[in-house]
Subunit: 421 residues, 2 copies
């Protein structure tokens, strides 16, 4: 039987436009991967009557209802109350959840108020979805042929709660297994990739091939459905290999979390250390590297040289390069990387300098003019980028950091440095 | 009469999670500002039957329906067909729109296909909303007491189409204005804040008061409705003042974008410069500061000293402090801030050191043990934090960086440093 899903989000902040409904996006992606059809997203505010109507409608047309939000004390646990009522269930006190909430507050050293304990009231007979990322537990139950799953609203809780709590529950509802591999690419546009694959994608049914673009990178997801994982893997493997052949050095990994992760793994494999020297990316390269747990095994540190005097005094960029070529130049990018390598005492150093906007720099360089460089025991290489002024500041910085990481992963894999496009 | 709005988005890409529904967020913000109540967001795919049902429902409960998406040739102009049908209207050829589409293709040098001209078929008697940002025109009509506005889906078209086409149309429908102020707080939990305000919040009708939590910070939004902006402001001001009195030094600003923004503004006001020395936050403080356009006027740079040798060699933290107290200690946090101040040549320096996880450090410090410090011309101050191991790594790092910024804004405002809770 094929399941139909409605995602029902409860929160006035969504209707006021304070936040975008990224929970619904994240859930839709995850549910699609499980082979579950999401047919509706609905958002209502913290309003009992409209929430009741939305639940009644969802119950009439979907056989899986996933709710986000409305679980905390600030909305009187609206979602739980309305869902319990719709399915004729009582809310009962769950001592295990209460204990977890008490412990949470002890650990963060904050005072717990009575309304926090309300969160431990859950529909009778439900499966408690323990929340290790916040206070409000989620829950799941089946009644009248409908599966109901309630998740907290904050994205930092909703995401792991789906991944580690709801997903395993839902896996048991889908027949057979769905397996997928994600091929990660850097340096190719989504539309170019899609144009190359369109005919093949349309002709494929199992496995399927789907392209995604995000943050200046591309992903190709290959998904197969079969009776066993082994059979699914056998279906996937030829397509994965074919894609690796087709896109060659644009592929930086399969099923890897990120470009920076691949860089850190490559460094650890070779016993090398890394440092960074950042101007336009302003700490973003270091931040992304240290987002990866265990980064300290290879990443020694970085220097954010926003002011020219920091470039000179800390990174030892010669003054004459700054005055002759300007801070946004190939020469300064190279000197920053070489300086970082020396000052930080690391084997490989990456640097960035450029104009992230909103305005041109004092030398008239356009927004989006960027240089990234790598310094290694074998020498220095600079990649010049013209990313254009259309992307917003944040995206320009993200792309620039990714280009620097691309230099590092190419060095570590013995590939030529390429042009990045 | 008070209007109720439903935003109906049509697009399978939303249900697959390929994109978030940022159109709905943008529209909700804009509509709230106009004093129009958005009660529902609905998303359906490119499916005629479900689109018909969604339109019938919207027509029954809202008196303004705004649609996004489903106007282009790839979905057979689903939205226009379904809405026209629901209100018993024919689609008729609009020569003005056809001419604009032809001109658009000439300008971008692409070949126009016949299905592009389909976009010039519009509901009879509608107001055409000319699209200067893409090809599909929008339209608006009133029928059976319901206002219908159709906008294109791509955010780069939807945003200006709302701003310059739909908004003027809607302005004539709204009575009075809605104004709001957002009070930003740091160092208080949402549930504590909410417990203090619950009675008052429930008693208020105009203005209203709503708490929000995000990323370890809290916000209080005060919203008023009145005939003129002036009157709305007069309604808001006493509540804003009252909240500032109530939460005192926890309030870091009103209508300000972020803590780091407030820090940078405070520095610029006083003509002071800032630097950072980061261990556990690994570049996040510098990244957040440089996310703010114009940060370079006050932020000179930072050092990410992930390895101890970088703490010693670059930040000049004395070796004996590291060996005696360990890298995660109040003493090392203070020495890092003082070192950064000297090395970077800045007036104020912030530092962080701690255990962001996933594991304890080699000295047995628990995950969530953090120290942030500030060095100023007047001396050094350290804040010790126990954030607990439950929040994910990213959140621990975000909170730690925010605590460091909190020290800076307290210094710049002449407040005592406080405990951060």
């Amino acid at each position: 039987m094929s399941h139909t899903v409605e995602i029902l989000s409860v929160g006035t902040e969504l209707l006021l436009g304070n936040i975008a409904n990224t929970d619904a996006q994240m859930l839709s992606q995850g549910l699609s991967e499980l082979g579950l059809n999401v047919f509706w997203h609905t958002v209502v505010g913290d309003n009992p009557q409209r929430a009741r109507e939305a639940v009644a409608l969802a119950k009439s047309r979907a056989d899986i209802i996933i709710t986000t939000g409305g679980l905390g004390p600030t909305c009187d646990d609206l979602t739980k109350n309305v869902l319990a009522e719709a399915f004729g269930k009582q809310l009962v006190f769950d001592e295990g959840s209460a204990q977890r909430i008490r412990t949470y507050f002890q650990r963060i050293g904050r005072t717990m108020t009575d309304n926090n304990l309300q969160q431990a009231m859950l529909p009778e007979g439900c499966t408690v979805l323990e929340n290790d990322w916040g206070t409000a537990p989620g829950c799941a139950f089946e009644a009248e042929g409908v599966h109901v799953i309630m998740l907290p609203g904050p994205p930092s809780e909703c995401r792991p709660m789906f991944q580690y709590r709801a997903r395993p529950y839902l896996l048991s509802l889908s027949e057979g297994v769905i397996a997928s591999h994600t091929i990660k690419l850097f340096g190719i546009g989504e539309s170019t990739m899609e144009a190359q694959l369109r005919e093949q994608m349309n002709a494929m049914t199992n496995p399927t091939l789907a392209p995604y673009a995000k943050e200046g990178e591309c992903e190709l997801r290959v998904t197969a459905k079969a009776a066993t994982d082994r059979e699914a893997q056998d279906l996937l493997q030829p397509t994965v290999e074919q894609m690796k052949q087709l896109f060659r050095d644009k592929v930086y990994g399969v099923d890897v979390p990120s470009l920076e992760y691949v860089v850190l793994e490559g460094l650890k494999d070779k016993g090398l250390t890394l440092g960074t020297a950042e101007s336009c990316t302003g700490g973003l390269m270091a931040k992304r590297l240290t987002d990866v747990p265990g980064a300290s095994q290879a990443f020694k540190g970085g220097i954010v040289s926003y002011a020219n005097e920091v470039k000179q005094n800390v990174l030892r960029v010669p003054e004459h390069l700054l005055s002759q070529f300007g801070a946004v130049s190939s020469e300064v990018a190279a000197a920053m990387a070489a300086g970082a390598r020396q000052v930080l005492g690391c084997d490989v150093a990456l640097s960035s300098t450029g104009v992230a906007g909103p305005d041109r720099d004092e030398n008239g360089n356009e927004v989006g003019t960027m240089f990234v460089a790598i310094a290694t025991p074998e020498g220095t290489h600079v990649r010049a980028l013209r990313l254009g002024a259309r992307p917003v500041r944040e995206r320009l910085r993200t792309q620039t950091a990714s280009h620097a990481f691309d230099l590092a992963r190419r060095y570590l894999s013995g590939l030529d440095y390429g042009s990045g496009t």
